[in-house]
Symmetry: C2
């Protein structure tokens, strides 16, 4: 793997980018981090992700992999000699993919509404968000991680949102456990810095 | 595989259900088809998919797999001795997953707007839909299928929408080629029947 060239186009507060930072850290892959200015996207980003024009983009030996869940599975399949993220059993893989999809479809959108809306809409979002966390908590059960005793795919997918939303999170013990891992703590920005960023964003959006 | 019990909870005009019908047909898996009344969902559906309460659900030896892309990958991994849907190379797998995700994020929603809206909104949706089809066509290139010379994952994911939207589709040759395959033609309902169903739905929705 010594000749691999790995570049990550990212934006520091992005929970989707954090997933890839954690995945690469878990696998021990060295990469060049390139911060994007999303209001003035680089020609490289537009060339590497012409369809969505979004970060994160993983560029492996000049070939782009876009969309964080796709790229995380790619990382797991290419660097398969260390820290497997998805289990090997097809049914357990399907369950992991189902919950990762759930996080993408529900947690991100509803989580955003808990701070980007006001009044009744915000209250409804908070209620729905807690219902979603309860479902995740039920899936977690008494295990330390979603994969059981090993940190895995669903943990990587979910934990970046923990930084953003820890004030309403109920899944404290799993979140805290993940944050103690070096691959996670070194890949995530400081919670207060993210909070400040969200405050600035709310200001800019006039919320 | 003789002792496998496979049940599909489905609703005949669902493009998501069609994906699993095609996938199971490609693999030669025998299964029990159970039609759901979506206005009066069965206790089995609510028990098997308590999170989303949606079809399709693949039930394999009493264990449910929900969400069509997750279930299609499950089918490909469990019945891996015949007609592989995803390629084996990680980069090509990532590309296939990217385009399947694109179909889910864009084609379904925008496709629906091409018939569920009116006036300017409908015109804008048609324009955007054609842009999306052009992107898909570019990815297809001069190949007969998205996987190259073999029918695969992206074809299975996309072809059910072809039945619905053939009037605005530009990817005619790929669509026609897929419809000639037995696994596809026997898994898809008649285009006119789907068209009638959409007309009834528009009526009910007051469009």
């Amino acid at each position: 793997m010594a000749t691999d060239e790995v570049i990550l186009l990212d934006f520091w507060p992005s929970p989707f980018g954090m997933r890839l930072r954690i995945g690469l850290a878990e696998k021990g892959v060295k990469y060049e981090y390139k911060e994007e200015d999303l209001r003035n996207k680089s020609p490289l980003l537009l060339q590497m992700n012409p369809v969505h024009k979004k970060i994160p983009v993983l560029i492996h030996n000049a070939k782009p992999v876009c969309e964080s869940l796709v790229a995380l599975q790619y990382i797991d399949e290419v660097w398969n000699n260390k820290s497997p993220l998805l289990p090997s059993d097809p049914y357990r893989r399907a369950r992991a993919r189902f919950w990762a999809d759930f996080v993408d479809k529900k947690i991100y959108d509803i989580g955003r509404k808990t701070w980007a809306t006001k009044g009744d809409e915000q209250e409804a979002a908070k209620k729905e968000f807690i219902e979603c966390l309860k479902l995740l908590e039920k899936e977690l059960g008494d295990e330390p991680y979603f994969r059981g005793d090993k940190f895995g795919y669903v943990d990587v997918v979910l934990i970046p949102f923990y930084v953003e939303t820890s004030s309403v999170s109920e899944a404290h013990s799993m979140g805290k456990r993940c944050l103690q891992m070096e691959s996670v703590s070194k890949s995530l920005p400081d919670g207060e810095k993210v909070y400040d960023f969200i405050l600035q964003l709310k200001n800019r959006l006039g919320i």
